[in-house]
């Protein structure tokens, strides 16, 4: 088992490296560079950038060097923990991301908890009470959760909250708390703002998981061992929860891996609509303006999250399903 883990770990490193190369190339693909975007932005907001300033910027950021040189310099620094400076923000990349990264993680985590917290019981209920009214209702709701694009949901909710409640919209903090340093009040304010975007984010994933859970549990419930358990006199709750649910948790585990990047990039669209200070909008902005170091680092982070998630999911899978454990050895 140790050899298996070590091998997977090494492969993970290689995967991450490949991701970094691919991301860097794609980011560079569009013609032009950051300085072009910068000039355009300045022009649109009514100010000038002289040709001398433009050339100086290019030299400053090394944009006049060939791509592999730029990549090489970047990756060497990354490995040492220096992620470079964002050209747009003129601050170290980690500072720019850092402010938002843990907010993104918080939002994703909240969405994850909501997803599981809702999907599990609803899925079980739907399977156990198949074809009941509740089952149909939840199925329908679930499908609507899948079918309605989440940006639409976010947009509508943002508008109605403004219309009906005159609520401060856009953002994870109320106006007064934005400026203040962290305090208990600010944490509470954050907690008040998080549920809405988290629920919107979770809706799509919840619906999927409910269906998967329901389908798999239905499969399991028809197995002979369930009949045996019932015949043996176990309570209904133990019959369901102890074995079938655990077996049906398989797809959950294998889904963890891709839940993280899904939530993070899924939140891009919602964050744009709701104006949330998370990584998502930052990524899109940095890609549009070709802010290489910033965009590259964020994409790398997403890659690392995925690979780590896969790794963890394999471990969880092994823990959850004894059959697989034996297979590994």
């Amino acid at each position: 088992m140790i050899t298996f883990l070590v091998r997977r770990f090494l492969l993970a490193i290689v995967t991450i490296w490949l991701i970094s190369v691919a991301s860097f190339v794609i980011i560079q693909l569009p013609p032009g560079d950051f300085v072009d975007t910068y000039i355009a932005q300045m022009a649109a907001s009514g100010s000038q950038v002289s040709a001398e300033a433009a050339n100086a910027m290019r030299q400053l950021y090394g944009l006049d060097r060939p791509m592999y040189v730029q990549y090489g310099k970047w990756i060497v620094r990354v490995v040492q923990g220096d992620f470079g400076e964002s050209m747009e923000w003129r601050r170290p990349v980690m500072e720019v991301i850092g402010d938002r990264l843990w907010l993104t993680l918080l939002l994703s985590f909240a969405a994850l908890i909501i997803t599981w917290g809702l999907a599990l019981p609803i899925g079980i209920y739907s399977a156990v009470r198949q074809y009941s009214f509740g089952d149909y209702a939840f199925t329908l709701l679930g499908f609507i959760g899948i079918a309605v694009p989440n940006f639409l949901l976010a947009l509508g909710i943002m508008y109605f909250s403004f219309r009906w409640f005159g609520a401060s919209v856009g953002g994870l903090f109320s106006a007064e708390y934005t400026l203040l340093p962290w305090s208990l009040g600010k944490v509470w304010d954050l907690m008040k703002h998080i549920p809405l975007p988290a629920v919107i984010l979770a809706l799509g994933g919840t619906a999927q998981l409910v269906r998967i859970m329901r389908a798999n549990l239905l499969d399991e419930l028809r197995r002979p061992y369930v009949v045996t358990a019932r015949a043996k006199g176990l309570t209904e709750r133990r019959v369901i929860l102890k074995y079938p649910v655990r077996a049906a948790l398989n797809p959950f585990a294998s889904n963890i891996a891709y839940l993280f990047p899904y939530l993070v990039s899924g939140s891009v669209i919602i964050s744009i609509v709701l104006g949330l200070p998370t990584v998502g909008p930052l990524l899109v902005e940095s890609l549009i303006s070709q802010d290489m170091f910033l965009a590259g680092t964020i994409v790398l982070l997403l890659g690392v999250l995925t690979v780590a998630g896969t790794f963890i999911s394999d471990l969880v899978l092994m823990w959850v399903d004894p059959r697989l454990r034996r297979q590994m050895d």
Partner: protein, 679 residues
């Protein structure tokens, strides 16, 4: 030779409304009768300068407290002996309050630059047509136009208390501008006819710009939003090192000249920068570095690359009101980051900003008006002076497709396309009827407008005539859908129009325009793209038609790039021509169009002409541009750019109408330092 007294006497003349201002006011009420029904458009006004200096001075309670604690010298010592005295628009205000505003990211520096634009050497009055003193208290131009002298204010100080005088100009000129490591080539502003000028210290409060050729335009350059005259906030932020003065006492420590290259490089590395160049780039930038001394009413305490860009009052600000109160009245400015424009507008409607004109979308006007009571704000509509919020430029140096290039260079083709646009439709749909349809020339009230008949020349809706003109050009064959065919290979003639979703929704507007062009048989292919890509293509001479605003063209010489291809950074009419112009013929391609050549020659000759003659030259240039339709104008003179002003009802001294123009540094020209919170 005009005397100093005469020039300083201008100050008192500004108490009355300058003649041009009256003309402007009349012009507004004449054309704006439709608009005035809304009650949202006022008359141009703002605080005015007076020459009487108060004998005693007062300051904000917060500063008075610091004086009591011995941390600041008394206010009389902080002010220059000749401060700028402003008569507030309505009443003397009260101190206090925080001005909340919205910004959209670290590229939105203009948001803060403009409210600090009193740090310019010279500025404009409320109508945007008369030059007034600002940092400099007066000026003098020699009869031959080769020398411009500026008089500074004795005893004026930087915001850290250090003296501000001619040494700061000498420092800028010798140690920054002339340092090839920092500024590789002299700027065009300082080099009329390609001959670099000099900046010389005469005495402690007098500096002089010296040129080898007559340069009468220079005064306007100092007052306008140019590299030399724009002021420290905008001209020494980001990649710029201009603005004519710089805080030498602070920046010296970062220059190799005052220690050694090794020493400053080490200093840079210690602070996390690659070399002294990057260290200096950071240290001189008021948006990023809270320590750098500035002159404006507010200075940065929390920099722009954070979610809240925060500014505090300048304790050494050199402007007072007529009762001797040191300005500004408002203590702090706090800008909160909004992820996108929708959020900015939403927050404005929710009343979360105290005064916001930037990023407010004209299309949302009905909704903004609906929410006035709920958000506790008033709305003012300010009309701009440039002719076209949406200007369609022809690339006259295009070469990639010879057939298309031929038509782009044919005057009748351009005129036909212009006649095929129904501007009233555009005006109603995108400007809510608040614009003025017509050509690209500036407003009739502006001195460079060539005459009212040029508003509609080639700029009405006449598809019949357009069809006839296109037929006469030989584009008679059409395909089954009614689109004209190329003359070289018989395929459909496709004209590419590049549109960026920038100041307005240009792609949507072009959708409507190309639909209208169907009726004259022209197939317009709208290419929506990102800004960076669009500007890159501009530089690579790849675009056929591109769309942008011609804001800034209201005073042609101060911002010519929207008028003529004279600046390679943004050359809508052809990058190769711009290169040819700036390199004096050594690079790029000469224009083949004789009228364009004539326009460029007129432009070149203008810097040596006096104002009246210069304006005549500008009128000639506009006539050429409209007659040849190098740029098609659609709708302009509207509130689309910074013209929808949302102002909290708690603020006082707010003008009913303010100048919307590049050189007015909206909202700078309406003196934010005189605004105050009523309660």
């Amino acid at each position: 030779m005009t005397t100093r007294r005469q020039i300083l006497g201008y100050a008192s003349a500004f108490a009355a409304v300058a003649p041009t201002g009256e003309a402007l006011a009349q012009a507004v009420s004449a054309t704006g009768s439709n608009f005035n029904q809304s009650g949202l458009i006022g008359t141009l006004e703002s605080a005015t300068q007076v020459s009487t200096i108060p004998t005693s001075f007062k300051e904000s309670p917060a500063l008075a407290e610091l004086v009591k604690q011995g941390k600041l010298p008394p206010v009389a010592q902080r002010l220059p002996s000749e401060p700028l005295v402003l008569k507030p628009l309505n009443t003397v205000g009260r101190y206090g309050g925080t001005w909340r505003r919205g910004f959209i990211g670290p590229s939105d520096g203009e948001n803060g630059n403009r409210i600090n634009s009193s740090d310019k050497l010279l500025f404009w009055d409320a109508s945007g047509s008369k030059i007034v003193p600002s940092v400099a208290k007066g000026w003098e131009m020699s009869k031959d136009g080769k020398t411009t002298t500026l008089f500074l204010r004795k005893g004026m100080k930087w915001r850290d208390g250090a003296p501000f005088n001619a040494d700061d100009f000498a420092f800028w000129y010798e140690d920054i501008y002339s340092n090839k490591d920092i500024v590789p080539t002299p700027i065009a502003d300082m080099s009329p006819n390609g001959k670099p000028g000099r900046l010389v210290k005469i005495d402690e409060t007098t500096v002089q710009f010296q040129f080898d050729v007559p340069y009468f335009l220079f005064l306007d350059m100092l007052a306008g939003d140019t590299l030399i005259g724009g002021g420290q906030s905008v001209q020494q932020s980001i990649g710029n090192y201009f603005g004519a003065y710089s805080p030498g006492h602070y920046l010296k420590q970062f220059l190799p000249k005052y220690s050694s290259e090794a020493a400053v490089n080490k200093l840079a590395k210690d602070q996390g920068f690659d070399n002294w160049g990057r260290l200096l780039a950071f240290k001189k930038d008021w948006e990023l570095n809270p320590d750098v001394p500035t002159l404006g009413p507010w200075h940065t305490v929390k920099p722009i690359n954070t979610p809240t860009w925060t500014m505090q009052r300048n304790p050494y600000y050199w402007v007072v009101d007529t009762e001797g109160n040191q300005l500004p009245y408002i203590d702090n400015v706090v800008m909160t980051l909004a992820e996108n424009l929708e959020v900015v507008n939403l927050r404005a409607m929710a009343g979360e900003y105290d005064m916001q004109e930037r990023h407010i979308d004209l299309q949302k006007l009905p909704l903004i008006l609906d929410n006035r009571d709920r958000g506790n704000y008033d709305v003012h509509l300010d009309l701009a002076f440039h002719g076209a919020d949406t200007a369609i430029h022809f690339n006259l140096s295009y070469v990639a497709d010879p057939e298309v290039a031929k038509w782009l260079k044919t005057a009748d083709f351009r005129r036909a396309l212009s006649l095929g646009i129904d501007r009233d439709q555009l005006n109603q749909t995108f400007w809510l009827g608040l614009g003025t349809p017509g050509s690209v020339v500036p407003a009739e009230s502006m001195p460079q407008n060539p005459g009212p008949e040029w508003r509609n020349r080639w700029s009405t809706y006449d598809p019949d005539r357009a069809n006839k003109m296109l037929d006469a050009l030989g584009l008679t064959k059409k395909d089954s859908d009614g689109y004209r065919l190329r003359t070289d290979n018989g395929q459909r003639l496709v004209i590419q129009v590049e549109a960026v979703a920038a100041m307005m929704d240009y792609p949507k507007q072009m959708e409507m325009v190309t639909q209208q062009w169907r009726k004259i048989g022209i197939y317009g292919d709208v290419k929506q793209m990102e800004r960076g890509l669009a500007f890159q293509r501009l530089t690579a001479n790849q675009e056929q038609l591109d769309v942008w605003s011609n804001g800034g063209s209201e005073l042609m010489y101060l911002f010519p790039r929207e008028v003529l291809p004279v600046d390679p950074t943004e050359a809508h009419l052809g990058i190769e021509i711009a290169k040819w112009y700036t390199s004096n013929g050594t690079q790029g391609t000469a224009p083949t169009d004789p009228e364009l050549k004539r326009a460029l020659e007129l432009y070149r000759s203008a810097s040596g002409q006096k104002e009246a003659e210069r304006n005549k030259t500008a009128q000639e240039i506009w006539k050429i541009i409209v007659e040849q339709q190098y740029t098609i104008g659609t709708v302009g003179q509207s509130p689309a750019q910074f013209g929808v002003r949302i102002v909290s009802r708690k603020l006082g001294n707010i003008p009913s109408r303010t100048c919307i123009a590049q050189h007015c540094r909206t909202p700078g020209v309406s003196h934010p330092e005189t605004w105050y919170f009523k309660a």
